[in-house]
């Protein structure tokens, strides 16, 4: 177990390192020059000379690529992520502010889509081939073909423009500083984006759970449970769920990449002040330091999700958890194992 953990964590760190190289190279080779694109931005004009030098050193072309990377990554590890030209603040501050907005959005969507998707998948599998199954399957296929940003637009049209229940974009109304925002306001701003994001996430987890549940229905232990007189629902409740929860949870953790990708689009549609919309602003405005930092954080989130998914397997499944002690226990029980 310990070596299993260690191996996974090592892999996690290695992948993160490689990602940082990839991200830095991609941002550096861009013909979009951060300085050129932002000469007239307040941030650049008011920047201290040494910050300007740092900017030129990171993203300029005077020094070799690997040297610039080493500097940038070294500073990164020390917590200096550079200065955001678009937001006129240290990148670390911009991210800290927006990270929790994005996290709230993603966690709500993660839980909603997970629970709903799991329930739909199980329902479809129990009613295999029937009317309910076809409806759920069709619904998921359509959802999988629906771009998150368009769904966001439609929800905006219905609930904000037509019904007027929610604000049209802009998390903070003009003229109100974000400090005056009540938690209720934040919640109101969270509902539509979170709903959009979870509706999009449902399809994957539901279809996956349905497949797994159909496999489970074919498995010997499920067939035997039915042969012992349990109905399909009873067998699913007693033996299906505990076997299906783990794969679903694993998938849900492994899906963090999709979730983050979706949040970029959804935040853009709803002008939600999270990491995703910041990444778009950074990318469009040539804010190299911010873009690189957000990309790296998104990758860290995804790897963390995968890491948790991997570890979950080890913790929950008794075959892995008790595997090591199984031998000894069997021997002990075997002593009482005499023929009748």
């Amino acid at each position: 177990m310990a070596s299993f953990l260690l191996r996974n964590i090592l892999k996690f760190l290695l992948l993160l390192l490689a990602t940082s190289v990839l991200v830095f190279v991609l941002v550096s080779i861009s013909p979009l020059d951060p300085v050129q694109m932002n000469v007239d931005q307040a941030a650049y004009l008011t920047m201290s000379p040494e910050k300007k030098a740092q900017l030129a050193e990171y993203w300029g072309t005077n020094t070799p690529l690997w040297e610039r990377y080493a500097h940038w990554f070294g500073d990164f590890l020390r917590g200096d992520l550079g200065t955001s030209l678009r937001f006129n603040a240290p990148v670390a501050d911009v991210i800290a502010l927006r990270f929790f907005n994005s996290l709230a959005l993603m966690i709500v969507a993660w839980i909603l889509s997970g629970v709903l998707g799991f329930a739909l998948g199980i329902g479809a599998a129990v009613k295999r081939g029937g009317f309910v199954d076809r409806i759920i399957k069709g619904y998921c296929l359509i959802l999988a073909a629906t771009p998150a940003f368009w769904l966001g637009l439609v929800l905006l049209i219905i609930f904000s423009v037509t019904l007027g229940w929610f604000p049209v974009g802009f998390s903070v109304p003009i003229g109100v500083s974000s400090a005056d925002l009540t938690p209720f306001d934040s919640l109101r701003h969270l509902i539509l984006p979170a709903a959009t994001l979870s509706v999009v996430g449902v399809a994957n987890i539901a279809l996956h759970t349905r497949e797994k549940a159909l496999d489970t229905r074919e498995s010997e232990f499920f067939q035997f449970a039915e042969a012992r007189g349990l109905s399909t629902w009873q067998a699913m409740r007693q033996h299906g769920l505990r076997n299906l929860l783990l794969p679903a949870l694993t998938l849900q953790f492994a899906q963090v990449a999709e979730l983050f990708g979706g949040s970029v689009l959804v935040e853009q549609v709803f002008s939600y002040p999270g990491l995703g919309s910041a990444a778009v602003t950074a990318g469009l405005g040539g804010d190299a330091a911010l873009l690189a930092a957000i990309a790296l954080i998104s990758a860290a989130l995804v790897f963390l999700g995968n890491l948790i998914a991997n570890i979950l397997y080890g913790v929950i499944d008794p075959r892995l958890r008790r595997g090591r002690h199984a031998r000894a226990k069997k021997d002990r029980a075997g002593a009482e194992d005499a023929p009748s």
């Binding site: 637009l153 049209i157 990444a279 778009v280 990309a295 998104s298 990758a299 995968n306």
Partner: protein
């Protein structure tokens, strides 16, 4: 084979056997039906692309006497703030998006085939390296990676095409790698190897034909992803230039007119995009049902 049953009750003989269970009535899901579905989907998509290219000029036509009209008989999808017909714009935009998607997905599938084959046949080190690369690619959210690549290439057509091509291969590469590893163990490949066939000849003659159905299905199923991601990237402003009538541009522009209540600017192009993606899904899954040995009996 049938035994005579000397003392079975004569009363039973005249009666048909009771039926204990009947198969669920088959919904015409036989192969000819699947073939028909595939053909229809392909035909519709071809029509869409060709007609979209044909009306490209018309779609740009502005008519300020006809601006901001809701959907009606004359303009099915309504008109925009410059009096352009939204149906034509949608058609032109979809065909452009589909073409970009096709190009990017094909390139991506090519990368997948190459890397998958190399990983399976190139020895342990290459395999580890490519598997690791796959993990790396899957580790960064698609959209973020697309933004990064598009940023690196200075946005525009090539940014989005190369971005989509470079990001979509890992899943298919995994499938191809697994399939080749499996066929590598097959006796007929073993025999060919013993007979002295070279590695390259083995791969070309005995393995690639085996993975071809999977490849083809994988390619077709890549299309919808590529189209959706192109649209998303363009929507964010990293993809095709605003002068081009791409579907992402149309939807992105519609956002400015939402508060004005011009809902048709967003709804209809989006529905058309979803329908197009669904058609590609349908074509891909029916193709799989037809040629993938794992599901051929269904």
């Amino acid at each position: 084979m049938l035994l005579r049953r000397p003392d079975s009750p004569s009363a039973l003989n005249g009666l048909a056997l009771p039926v204990l269970h009947r198969p669920r009535r088959e919904r015409a899901s036989n192969r000819s039906h699947t073939l028909l579905v595939f053909g229809l989907a392909a035909l519709l998509l071809t029509t869409l692309v060709i007609s979209g290219r044909a009306v490209n000029e018309l779609a740009m036509l502005t008519d300020f006497t006809q601006k901001n009209l809701g959907p009606g008989l004359e303009h099915w999808f309504g008109t925009d703030w410059m009096g352009r017909d939204m149906f034509l714009r949608t058609l032109a935009g979809l065909s452009l998006s589909v073409l970009v998607g096709l190009l990017a997905a094909s390139a991506s599938a090519g990368i997948a085939l190459l890397l998958g084959t190399v990983a399976a046949l190139g020895g342990r080190k290459l395999d580890t390296a490519i598997t690791w690369l796959i993990d790396l690619m899957l580790g960064i959210p698609h959209i973020v990676l697309l933004v990064l690549i598009s940023f690196a290439l200075g946005k525009g057509f090539w940014g989005v095409t190369i971005g989509v091509a470079v990001t979509h291969w890992p899943t298919l590469a995994r499938v191809i790698r697994a399939e080749i590893l499996q066929v590598k163990q097959a006796p007929y490949v073993e025999v060919a190897r013993k007979l002295g066939a070279s590695r390259l000849a083995l791969a070309a003659k005995h393995m690639l034909p085996f993975v071809f159905p999977q490849f083809l299905v994988g390619l077709v199923l890549l299309f919808p992803h590529a189209i959706l991601h192109e649209a998303a990237l363009t929507f964010l402003g990293f993809g095709l230039a605003p002068e081009q009538p791409a579907i992402g541009i149309i939807l992105s522009e519609s956002m400015s007119y939402l508060s004005a209540g011009y809902w048709w600017l967003a709804v209809f192009p989006g529905v058309a995009l979803v329908a197009t993606v669904l058609l590609f899904d349908l074509a891909g899954s029916s193709l799989r049902r037809l040629i993938d040995p794992h599901t051929a009996q269904e």
